[in-house]
């Protein structure tokens, strides 16, 4: 079979006004520096699970155009919510030409019936067990409409994704997953409901093999570890850091603030090649943080935010601090407090997004029940658009506060202050 695995074009999160704000500070620190189109790792895993007798083409629509008249026998599409509208257009166009289309990824997983209207089979959950079963069914002509991954796959047995199928010139930042699962039950997160709360990871040897494959393709590439929470198992993380040191890589990872509480781990990061850590602070309002987790984990960390930021950045590691505005308790005043916090704490790359009720999340269920959803197309789920009626601030004011906050934290003076802060740090760290 000739198979196309397609990652649909993403909706843009940066409108003209935001682009203008970032452009103004481009010379003193690029927010755009921190952004990169991520390819779909899931499709590369699917490719690795496909026997060699099939011909595979991976198409990342952010870079490559789709030839709808090419003679594919099967088209597989993986999409996040903001890509879903485009994913359905692609699926419909291929099916019109009589090509079999299957869909997976996080959006199809949480809304399988919706996805099924545009394709022949839907993959629910992780692909490690379901894709081989589907190929087997296909060969016997006993294909089902839904393939649900019942048991969480053993990541140590997961194959190395087929990075070789990507156009290497398109990517300077390589996204790689070492683990799945996050213990935090954040109301706005849909990933935890797909991958579960139990943390699973690849083996050290497997990770090293995968990194060596990546290095052979992109010798100067930077690694972004795509794990939702990279340092859940601190003992494993320390072992991994010891191995990463030998590879002389530069990498970025997403984590929670608990990394600051482990001095031994923190001291290992820079030597291991860590340049930047993305930390989801979410808010600096006690009330807003109290609504995030059922067990109030994030609220309990709030008093430790400033010392933790100082401690992490004092090691020469830049924090990409992510914050959300639009919580039920947010007002113009709480959002102003947020920008003051970001500026006072010299956060290297602040990222502010609008609270987004992703389908599959508890937030989506609650706002639907409260009849507060705006029912926008999925292409509006970019984290800078507003898709629900906020409680204590109007839609218009919330959008303006997003712009105002970015204007403040990305002003030339603030960016120069942050650069000088880091200059002082780098003069003291070894």
């Amino acid at each position: 079979m000739k198979i196309a695995l397609i990652s649909p074009r993403g909706a843009t999160a940066i409108d003209d006004r935001l682009r203008s704000i970032f452009q103004d500070s481009r010379d003193v620190q690029g927010y755009i520096d921190s952004l990169s189109h991520a390819f779909s790792s899931g499709l590369l895993v699917v490719a690795a699970l496909t026997p060699d007798c099939h011909e595979i083409r991976v198409i990342d629509e952010n870079y490559d155009s789709i030839d709808f008249n090419e003679a594919f026998d099967l088209v597989g599409i993986s999409a996040m919510t903001q890509q879903a509208s485009r994913a359905y257009e692609i699926a419909d166009a291929f099916r019109k030409r009589g090509v079999m289309v299957v869909m997976g990824g996080i959006h199809a997983t949480v809304l399988p019936q919706e996805a099924k209207e545009h394709c022949d089979a839907v993959f629910i959950g992780e692909a490690e067990h379901t894709w081989p079963a589907f190929l087997d069914d296909l060969s016997k002509r006993t294909m089902m409409s839904f393939y649900r991954g019942e048991a969480a796959p053993d990541m140590a047995a997961s194959p190395i994704p087929r990075y070789d199928l990507l156009n290497r010139n398109n990517y300077k930042v390589i996204w790689m997953q070492t683990s799945r699962g996050c213990p935090h039950d954040c109301e706005f997160c849909s990933a935890s409901r797909v991958y579960g709360y139990a943390y699973r990871h690849k083996s050290i040897a497997g990770i090293m093999d995968e990194l060596n494959v990546i290095k052979s393709i992109w010798p100067r590439g930077r690694i972004n570890f795509a794990d939702d929470n990279f340092f859940v198992n601190k003992k494993f993380s320390k072992e991994l850091m010891r191995h990463l040191k030998a590879l002389d890589l530069r990498w970025f990872a997403q984590t929670d603030i608990s990394v600051a509480y482990d001095d031994e781990l923190l001291d290992m990061l820079k030597d291991a090649g860590c340049t930047t850590l993305l930390i989801g602070f979410e808010s600096v309002s006690e009330q807003s943080l109290g609504s995030v987790n059922r067990n109030s984990w994030k609220r309990k960390q709030l008093s430790g935010y400033s010392p933790a930021i100082e401690k992490i950045q004092s090691k020469g590691i830049g924090i990409v601090g992510t914050f959300i505005i639009g919580f039920d308790s947010d007002t113009k005043e709480t959002i102003h407090t947020l920008s003051e916090f970001i500026i006072a704490n010299n956060i290297f790359v602040p990222q502010i997004t609008i609270l987004t009720p992703l389908p599959g999340s508890r937030l989506y269920e609650r706002l639907t029940e409260e009849k507060r959803m705006l029912h926008n197309p999925w292409s509006h789920y970019t984290f800078t658009e507003i898709n629900f009626n906020p409680r204590n601030i109007s839609v218009e004011d919330l959008k303006n506060e997003l712009y105002n906050t970015y204007e403040k934290v990305y002003s030339r003076d603030v960016r120069l202050k942050v650069l000088n802060h880091f200059k002082s740090i780098f003069k003291t760290v070894q």
Partner: protein
């Protein structure tokens, strides 16, 4: 004395060759002084600092290579490089000026000229 610096010409790509690096310095009184900032050791130290911090092999630091797009050196790494060089040579490098530079050769040249003036 306030001075403006203009690099005389771009350094040649081969770092092993002897670089003739002429820097024009304009004083506040308008006098143009030519300083020969040729210094293989300085250039090689700057490149070594870039190589260590950005974890990029020295041979990949050709002068025409783009710092951000091709080497993946972001503003955090750039500021680390500047900080280490400032500390080593006791100089001050303007962050805004250096962040505007896009290629390795100009980056090294800019820093070498600051060191030459110190």
């Amino acid at each position: 004395m306030n001075v403006n610096i203009h690099a005389g010409r771009r350094a040649v790509p081969d770092t092993g060759a002897v670089l003739r690096h002429i820097v024009n310095i304009t004083t506040t009184s308008g006098v143009i002084m030519k300083i020969d900032a040729t210094n293989n050791q300085v250039v090689s130290e700057i490149k070594k600092t870039i190589s260590v911090i950005a974890r990029i092999a020295l041979e990949d630091l050709a002068d025409d290579v783009r710092i951000r797009e091709e080497l993946g050196i972001d503003s955090l790494m750039s500021i680390e490089i500047i900080a280490k060089i400032e500390k080593r040579y006791g100089i001050n490098i303007n962050e805004e000026e250096i962040m505007k530079i896009s290629r390795v050769g100009e980056f090294v040249e800019h820093i070498a000229s600051k060191i030459a003036m110190a």
